[in-house]
Symmetry: D2
Subunit: 135 residues, 4 copies
């Protein structure tokens, strides 16, 4: 439906003594990819929160295929497979500099009204932007 | 088959501006739980690496049920559902101070020979310890 | 004036590809030590925030003497050298399992009124607890 | 002597419940700035390690002037005030999008021969690159 690519350079801080990126840092890479995909749609996650909606993660799946190394310039492809309703689905594919797929993941995010703390639907203005891009 | 419980106090560094533990910090909590479970079996992951075997993560699943907050003293239950062969399966359940289940996850780890970089079977001494505990 | 010791086990996540604890993780260790020192005084930093005072860091100094390694059980000594006024000073010394001093640091924290966002004095109840312990 | 500027976008993961960047994440920002400054000199820190020299941190100082917020696009100015000998000095200044100085820091790094684990002088090829840029 909607895809977007972003680049990310591996930090030394993100490696561990195995010499690779620590497995717990990939969710942070997904966050960056998701934020840049939203920015490309003409809004930001910061705006979303400013407008009173927060998007906590409900679930996540990760498949670690090959290691990423320090200073690698990774390409992260973000995919939004469907129009969000009460939840939003993102898929991620991470490629190394040789264009080899090294990591795959997906997250499901909820829409929560910041004021009430209760689940809500994806804001209309957000869905409209997504739909206009997906055409 | 084998279960173990460990306690972990949420650090300020682990929260984000939503006021909860950042979703990307749970893999680190699983790592701590796994390491303490192994220590309880009479060995350590450090020993495992010293004996030439590293255990990178192959896949992970997380279900975020309720948020964890700063300074919460969490209880993490680690479960090893089956005798490891070429891979090892861990399940995790995280409970808050009110004994409410707030997070569930699972990871599959590979056994890799550090010298050759190739997959190997779980070391015999390790399997024996697991089996003796599971009785 | 006031000193307190706490133990902390190095996580795999905290190492980097040099095989040691990443230099950027020590501030997090200081945070844990500080929080446990305050808990030992009969309050918590969580209480402090609940009572409307936040304590952001104004400055920090670190001296890295020897590396810390994965799974090391570190001892962190926290020192409060003086009664806090508008600012609070903490010193830290980190020792490895051989009781060797491997890291020294200090931080200065401000007291900020959460409501107004303006600097304030250390709460009286907090100073009283510190003074009663220091006797 | 030598200065370089790099941009860095604040991640959600890097904020804490105070709503600002956690104080312990600035060393990671310095690492990125340092690495990009070295890349701009025509080499990378990855090369340095590949050539057998690692550069652990010996000491660090940070002054926290104003908070950084989620999604801020920070500008980090890196300064190398002097030709390195057995140690290398880096200074950092971080500016927000309004060009306000929000953070100042400095680090001293050692040069260590990876093989022997002993301190060494800055490699000649590295010093030559620095000198040619500084002219």
């Amino acid at each position: 439906m909607f895809t977007f690519e972003t680049k990310l350079r591996v930090r030394y801080a993100e490696t561990d003594q195995m010499g690779y990126v620590y497995y717990g840092n990939y969710p942070q890479y997904y966050e960056v990819a998701r934020a840049e995909a939203m920015r490309n749609l003409g809004m930001t996650y910061r705006d979303m929160e400013a407008k009173g909606v927060v998007m906590p993660i409900a679930s996540m799946q990760i498949k670690y295929i090959r290691p990423a190394r320090y200073d690698d310039l990774l390409t992260i492809k973000t995919l939004v497979p469907e129009i969000p309703g009460a939840r939003m689905h993102f898929d991620y594919e991470i490629y190394n500099e040789s264009a080899v797929l090294i990591n795959k993941g997906s997250t499901i995010l909820a829409f929560i009204d910041k004021l009430t703390g209760r689940p809500c639907q994806a804001p209309e203005w957000f869905v409209e932007k997504l739909v206009s891009f997906a055409k």
